[in-house]
Symmetry: C2
Subunit: 101 residues, 2 copies
């Protein structure tokens, strides 16, 4: 069984790809996971690591297929704002710089 992950950000281009292309995949051959990076920003790094440069993208057994162009992964990341880890690091840096414990 092949494994596929469809990364998207809820955009119109993403929805069209999901509705027409991803829904037409043979689920007896491929197990498809759908990941909305706008709602699961902790999965953005995983997508980048897999080679995803823009959404929508379908990763099938490690091969990345960018389908049309909705948004760059960097813009998805920017739109999501800093992660909690990033926020904590910024606050820790400010505390350290200002001598606050």
């Amino acid at each position: 069984m092949k494994r596929a992950t469809f990364y998207h950000a809820g955009c119109a281009v993403c929805r069209a790809a999901e509705n027409e292309l991803v829904r037409a995949m043979d689920r007896s051959q491929v197990s498809v996971e759908i990941v909305h990076l706008g709602k699961q920003k902790d999965r953005i790094d995983e997508a980048v690591k897999a080679g995803v440069e823009s959404v929508p993208a379908l990763v099938i057994d490690g091969n990345v297929f960018h389908i049309n162009f909705g948004a760059s992964i960097n813009n998805v990341r920017l739109a999501m704002g800093p992660s909690e880890k990033d926020q904590e690091e910024v606050v820790a840096g400010m505390r350290a710089g200002w001598g606050i414990r």
Copy 2:
């Protein structure tokens, strides 16, 4: 039954898309025709009319999905050389210009 046409030009990017993505489509939902524009240059105009700008591309019920980027459709057309119709027009134009019957 949905109808899909996969346009490609035999390039490595095209073959990956065909092997991983097109082969994983559910043929009970979608009837897929595979068109090698390098061998069927008379189908290039049809692909352009459908909205195909680059190959590989999958057109599902009129919706165009460009999958990664192998080559622009213009480069496919250039690589194929002029069609027989174009060749005939060029020869007819030369004959007319030079007064040859």
